[in-house]
């Protein structure tokens, strides 16, 4: 009883803040618009011209995700090398990192945090203002956000691997890059690749969503069709989207199984 009362007291302000009013769903006007929109869902649009356009948009979505992730990788690899502490020679010698090394690593870590804390959709919104509507904004948004995510997780994976081999190589005079490549990398490679594949899958979903703020691909087409209340087109594009995500999911898990 008291619990229910407490719940009601807690819920009331939430209901007010969210303007929660299920009756709006039942107003004649919105019912009519919804009905018109939904009845248009069947049959889904399937003219050759529309399918061609949808196919092109789908490819654009995949291309945005792939190009964005490639750029993210180009940024993340050097940042990881700077951020990871397993190649710190000073830490190995004296147990403490030199001040300069510590500052650099911390700065890179903050940069990575900043890159991934701003949601990709907000990056996309900003880039649409800078470079205009179209896939370029999507590519740049994915590149920045995923650079932050990949950099952080790569550094963590490298640090959680057994540092013994790397340390031995460093102690015997190997260069840092060589020590990393022959020490930590063989052990961590499968996990690094599998995480990258998983992120590619996320990038495909993300690039569809970013289309809604004008960053190209399937999302942008879907947004246009939604604004015109073209139910049939929305229905086909939703189907295509679900298929695309399922395919990406399949490919990514097949790749990961091969690695695992």
């Amino acid at each position: 009883m008291i619990g229910a009362l407490l719940l009601a007291v807690l819920c009331w302000p939430m209901l007010v803040y969210t303007e929660f009013n299920p009756l709006t769903l039942l107003e004649a006007q919105s019912l009519e618009a919804t009905w018109r929109f939904l009845s248009d869902f069947f049959p889904p649009a399937h003219s050759a011209e529309f399918l061609m356009m949808a196919l092109q948009a789908t490819w654009e979505t995949v291309a945005i995700a792939t190009a964005g992730l490639t750029l993210a990788l180009l940024g993340a690899v050097p940042l990881t090398l700077m951020a990871t502490s397993i190649v710190s020679v000073s830490q190995l010698e004296s147990g403490r990192m030199r001040l300069a090394g510590r500052l650099l690593r911390q700065a890179v870590r903050w940069l990575l945090v900043l890159l991934r804390s701003v949601p990709e959709l907000v990056w996309a919104l900003l880039f649409v203002r800078i470079v205009g509507l179209g896939p370029t904004a999507g590519v740049l948004a994915i590149a920045l956000t995923y650079c932050g995510m990949l950099g952080k997780v790569y550094a963590e994976i490298l640090e959680s691997s057994d540092g013994h081999a790397t340390a031995t190589l460093l102690e015997n005079g190997a260069g840092r890059l060589a020590a990393l490549c022959y020490g930590a990398l063989p052990e961590a490679a499968a996990e690094l690749l599998s995480y990258t594949t998983y992120r590619w899958e996320c990038a495909i979903r993300g690039s569809v969503v970013m289309g809604f703020v004008g960053a190209g691909g399937l999302g942008q087409r879907m947004d246009e069709s939604l604004k015109m209340l073209a139910g049939g087109e929305v229905a086909s594009m939703l189907l295509i989207f679900v298929l695309l995500v399922a395919c990406a999911d399949g490919i990514s898990s097949a790749l990961r199984k091969r690695l695992g």
């Binding site: 803040y17 303007e19 190009a67 490639t70 949601p119 959709l121 907000v122 203002r129 470079v131």
Partner: protein
């Protein structure tokens, strides 16, 4: 002495896979035809620098801050309420989806849950705007729809993986199916349900912050509004509010997880 043959650097299938990936990357860049020259021309760099400089200083007038605070509370309410709705809906849908009401009903509910789950929140929001109108109500429903699918699936899997014995014992001794479920299955699964729901709530706070860019309320709607009027200093404050909120949520959940693990 004959030396053993050098092992190949990689198997043929790995090489084919790598070539395929390279081709995908090349085709992506080629088909997008991004004009890198234009992007990094002196002109473009100057206008982007101007754009970024427009963000400082962030608007800190108290009237504006209180509006940001309102939008923040709206975002939090959207996330909490939608998680609550999704929890109830997920629980109701999980019972047929866990095969407790026949296998055909199980397949049908699982299909429904998959559809709910595979459409992202933002897409739900843009669809629901038609029925619910602009504002946080549409956003709440959108979050609830997606989260309901996710939680329903997780709950159903949990229910299917429970040990069968307690529920069956009650059934054999003459309890009704509902009573057996309520007194045997639910208490076993409840802690798992709550932890899934809390995890999704954390996700929903993040999602609720950005849903507004299609007009579904919260901080995102404010961001979109000020950006489209080119009021960059106001937009900067909203972005900062988002960052602070997400960082706080991260910190709290990190702290809670550590407390619970101990």
């Amino acid at each position: 002495m004959q030396r053993p043959p050098v092992p190949p650097l990689m198997s043929r299938s790995t090489a084919a896979l790598l070539l395929g990936l390279l081709a995908l990357v090349a085709a992506s860049f080629h088909s997008l035809s991004i004009k890198w020259g234009d992007l990094f021309s002196a002109d473009a760099l100057r206008s982007s620098a101007e754009f970024v400089a427009g963000f400082v200083p962030p608007e800190l007038a108290s009237a504006f801050l209180s509006r940001v605070g309102g939008a923040l509370l709206e975002t939090l309410s959207m996330s909490a309420l939608s998680t609550l709705i999704a929890f109830c809906a997920g629980l109701l849908l999980a019972i047929p989806a866990s095969g407790r009401m026949g296998s055909s009903l199980r397949a049908a509910t699982r299909l429904l849950l998959n559809v709910l789950r595979s459409i992202p929140e933002l897409v739900w929001a843009s669809i629901l705007l038609i029925a619910a109108g602009l504002g946080p109500f549409a956003g709440t429903l959108a979050l609830a729809a997606h989260t309901g699918g996710v939680l329903g699936r997780l709950f159903a899997d949990t229910l299917e993986n429970l040990p069968r014995a307690p529920e069956e014992t009650l059934r054999i001794n003459g309890a009704s199916p509902l009573a057996a479920f309520l007194y045997a299955a639910l208490p076993l699964a409840w802690p798992q349900f709550v932890s899934y729901a809390l995890y999704r709530w954390e996700n929903n706070i993040r999602a609720a912050a950005i849903l507004g860019v299609v007009g579904a309320g919260g901080l995102g709607q404010m961001l979109k509004y000020h950006l489209s009027l080119f009021q960059m200093q106001q937009a900067a404050t909203v972005i900062l509010a988002m960052l602070v909120m997400v960082a706080l949520v991260d910190a709290i959940s990190f702290w809670l997880r550590h407390r619970l693990m101990e």
